[in-house]
Symmetry: C2
Subunit: 369 residues, 2 copies
Amino acid sequence: MKKLKFAVLGAGNGGQSISAYLTLKGYDVKLYDKYDEVVAPLIEKGNIELRGVSLNGNAVISVITTDISKAVEDTDIILVTVPSNAHSFIANELAPVLKDGQVIVLCPGSTGGALEFKKILNYKNCSADYKLAETTSLFYACRAKEGVANISGVKNILPIASLPSSDVDYIINLLDDVYPQLVKEENVIASSLNNLNAILHPIAVLLSTSWIEATGGNFKFYYDSITPSVGKLIERMDAERMSIGKALNVHVKSAADSLKTYYSATGDSIYDMVRTVKAYEPISAPPSLNSRLLFEDIPMGLVPMVELAKLVSVNVPTMNLIIDLASQVLEKDFREEGRSLERLGISNMNIDELNKYVSNNFECTQGGK
Amino acid sequence: MKKLKFAVLGAGNGGQSISAYLTLKGYDVKLYDKYDEVVAPLIEKGNIELRGVSLNGNAVISVITTDISKAVEDTDIILVTVPSNAHSFIANELAPVLKDGQVIVLCPGSTGGALEFKKILNYKNCSADYKLAETTSLFYACRAKEGVANISGVKNILPIASLPSSDVDYIINLLDDVYPQLVKEENVIASSLNNLNAILHPIAVLLSTSWIEATGGNFKFYYDSITPSVGKLIERMDAERMSIGKALNVHVKSAADSLKTYYSATGDSIYDMVRTVKAYEPISAPPSLNSRLLFEDIPMGLVPMVELAKLVSVNVPTMNLIIDLASQVLEKDFREEGRSLERLGISNMNIDELNKYVSNNFECTQGGK
């Protein structure tokens, strides 16, 4: 098998860290970002210094570009590392340049990433024989700034689902050398509902509004802001998420079980458990409410969860409350700008049709290469 | 005119301060509290020491008792200084012992205090020829503990409304020697809507949930917790309150105008203005969410405001949001336990009937003495 070639789309924390890691592993990587001001300093520096708990060294990325067609040309795997709000932009840009056999992985998909991506590719009449998958989180806890990337933690287990779900084994196998921690998720409904950020972040931020604004976020995010009452509200919302999963016949891991599995957390409540997660200890609150913890995790997380709940008539009062609270506090209609069933391409489906849609392949994505 | 005799019902901060003040002014005062553990130390001490910006001295209260009939016997004015959650209890206890000519003043009424009080007195077939009024706030900023009361501020202007509204001049005149700051409020709908606590407190507390629980309220309440986003949400809710007032044909003062009038605040936004209110500077956040700032100001403030909004079909999404948020965070059905139109005795009225009800006297409250 010839050595895989990668495109990494999005040169933020995740994109820089992943590009550097893959390059140091000996793979050819082309790194794309939409913004000149992100790409220019990386080109000027000439390499990405990777530090931390994964590989260490100076990675010379083969191509760094703002031209997406150049970035994905002659690559096997396209890792999409932009915030999920930008998935639709990337899908629109990719549609005309995708080639047969390319594998797209959204890292992560948030909630409904793969569904939205496929909807757009179909809408744009993309005829390539691609494969599409999404993870439920990023591979790393990492930070990067202008060519210096630091990986402070690597997830031991990272679920991935493909659309259709039948492609997932092929993709896991393909990525095994670089990301052996990938494990199969049932389908993209399961991976969408297993977006824990949507459950943990918005409540913790919104109920810390005054603290964030009065201090510029000068406190620990998970440790300080998830107090007993905040933890209980998170548990209520998490129970709603579990109910949606049950109604949609997919296995959803509770927040408590996720914290135990991924972070070896201990304790009886979310409040207790969060405090046993070492990886959360150094994470500070955002300096303002203008944060992905709200602007990504609500429209690309809670909103599509509420939409899925509608599809199966499950009541989700806490999710609705938090979307409304965020919309009023931030004076922004998150329902309007979020991922609706329509945007996910599943607005006229019943449960059976949805399950078929995520399992089977109706269009052109039959084979690999 | 013979010297007035007072009953003060409720021996908390307000009740102790008022009793001591009136006693030092030379009036006969009987002080009641429901709880032995509140009354006992006051009786043992033998006096209330009054300090601060009003009168100073040791006030020997003529009667301190847990027997409400003893407290109100042979008095002219009954000042009700319990939290408004306890107004219904006091009304039920007073119904059989009220005498012709007695004047009841709820200090303050929160939202709907006088309406609820009258509903209960009617329901209990009280036949006394009483008068009933409510202020929009307490006379003082004060604190008291076991017989030592400190008045840190005296309101220069304090609106009062009577039910029916025609009694208010008589009551203001009666109290002129002790409380010359009382000014006439149109009716109890106006005084009910001019409950600023309901607008300022719940939002500021709820959006400080994590800060309160993480630090035990170790920050300034108004100054620190009313940040720009919190202030803007308060302004949204305040606009809803103004809309209810407009629909009900009563004059309601905006929060901004109230801060200017009562506290000489300056600035263009609630956020700016709050920081110019000297009286707010020393006030700390509550040590936990178990606070009157939620447990009184929501069921006795926001809930009846939303009920009044229903009566005139005014949309109040921010009020509803905050009630729902509090209900979920505190796991308590505040709508269920709050003042409904039914509890206020106005559930089957249209606007005209309500205006007549608060202006005129349908039952037994025709004359004074």
